[in-house]
């Protein structure tokens, strides 16, 4: 059995994500969803409700009067914010896992993922891209495939790095050559297994190479650029580190510029501290695994 077949065989036993994630995505992706709709979904999950209220009352936000209901929280912070905290806290345990073959500890993979999500969100705002939360989610899970490919990458790392240094291949091109599949394609398979919306699956699938996508979307380009920037800034990166080729076409398609990218990066640290600080208060396991 070759590596690709072995990787695919493993996917069916891959942990699933909570059903409520789908409900949240569905509500958000419906046009004109109101703050109340998200609250309606969250309300049925007491643990999630408690986590969101804890996050909303986090000292990082600095409000003196605590919120006591989801309605108050969404009034103060907005629907999109509630969605982002909910999805991050629900998907956290799926991403906060080691990818040893890439020499990424569990917190590295998580940190890179959440930083990419925050940066993608900032970029889509700066570029005036209409988005309901899809870009954040897609960026958060863009590297999910690594959890399935990392063991195989670890076993073949010498061969992969030889291809990079001798043939000027990118890491994902070397993965394809050696394993028959790269972490982007495997990630798309996992997202498909999770019944994620097609647009998110496509963002994962083409996050290293949006130019090759059958149908290129702004979301895809934004996730690609956010990932490239987080790699360049060295946030939670692994052994594959800088061995990727950013798309110049994506920059042109989005009508972005160097200063827009820098502006987005300048917002990264404070947003990252904010979301991580809130998750730390909302999820007991979060601070525990990160200390």
């Amino acid at each position: 059995m070759n590596a690709k077949t072995q990787i695919i065989a493993k996917l069916s036993s891959f942990p699933t994500i909570p059903v409520i994630v789908h409900r949240l995505m569905n509500v958000l992706h419906e046009q004109e969803s109101r703050a109340g709709d998200i609250g309606e979904v969250v309300r049925h999950d007491p643990a999630l409700t408690a986590n969101i209220l804890k996050a909303a009352n986090s000292s990082y936000l600095g409000f003196s009067k605590p919120v006591t209901s989801l309605t108050e929280a969404s009034f103060r912070l907005g629907t999109k914010w509630i969605y982002q905290i909910a999805v991050s806290s629900l998907i956290y345990s799926n991403i906060n896992r080691p990818a040893d073959g890439y020499e990424q500890k569990s917190q590295d993979l998580w940190r890179h993922s959440v930083a990419t999500a925050v940066l993608a969100e900032a970029l889509s705002k700066l570029l005036n891209i209409r988005d309901s939360g899809l870009i954040f989610t897609a960026a958060l899970v863009h590297d999910i495939g690594k959890i399935a490919t990392h063991e195989f990458v670890g076993e073949s790392i010498v061969e992969i790095e030889k291809l990079i240094s001798e043939s000027n291949k990118t890491f994902e091109e070397a993965e394809i050559e050696v394993l028959g599949v790269d972490h982007a394609e495997v990630g798309a398979m996992i997202a498909n297994h999770w019944n994620f919306p097609t647009q998110i699956i496509e963002c994962i699938r083409w996050h290293h190479n949006p130019d090759a996508a059958p149908e290129i979307t702004p979301a895809m380009d934004v996730v690609h650029i956010a990932d490239a920037l987080c790699l360049m800034e060295g946030i939670g990166i692994g052994r594959d580190g800088m061995y990727y080729r950013p798309s110049q076409e994506a920059i042109v398609r989005l009508n972005a510029s160097g200063s827009i990218l820098e502006l987005a990066v300048s917002q990264l640290l404070s947003s990252l501290e904010e979301i991580e600080g809130m998750l730390e208060e909302a999820l007991p396991v979060y601070s525990y695994t990160r200390r």
Binding site: M242, Y243, R245, P246, S257, G258, S266, L269
Partner: protein, 121 residues
């Protein structure tokens, strides 16, 4: 970048993200360490205030990596390094050793007791 005065054993390091603070002055006020032009002077001022001497200061630099064929828009790493050189040159501070550029991500350590600097890539 790490700085170290071997006589007083005062040292420090900065891992900044962007070259120039003019892109977001409000962020630079809150987090000067994020930008080369606000972070490097802040670090220097702090170690001098603690008693480090400019003449004895050992400066080491690592980073400024790039992605493959990244083109102009993504060249933040290179610009980060150029601004650092300019600031040090203006302040008459020499770089002792450096490991910059290329497609290598690096982790830098400074041991305050000995001044030993290690770069893992």
């Amino acid at each position: 970048m790490t700085v170290y005065d071997p006589q007083t054993r005062i040292g420090g390091m900065i891992h900044y993200m962007l070259p120039l603070s003019k892109i977001a002055p409000d962020k630079a006020k809150l987090k000067p360490g994020m930008f080369a032009d606000t972070g490097i002077p802040t670090l220097l001022r702090k170690v001098f205030k603690l008693g480090a001497s400019k003449d004895r200061l050992i400066v080491n630099v690592a980073g400024g990596a790039k992605l493959m064929d990244q083109g102009k828009v993504f060249n933040i790493g290179e610009r980060n390094y150029l601004v650092l050189r300019k600031i040090l040159w203006k302040n008459n501070i020499l770089i002792n050793a450096e490991d910059v550029g290329d497609d290598l991500s690096r982790t830098m350590r400074l041991e305050i007791a000995t001044g030993m600097v290690t770069v893992k890539s």
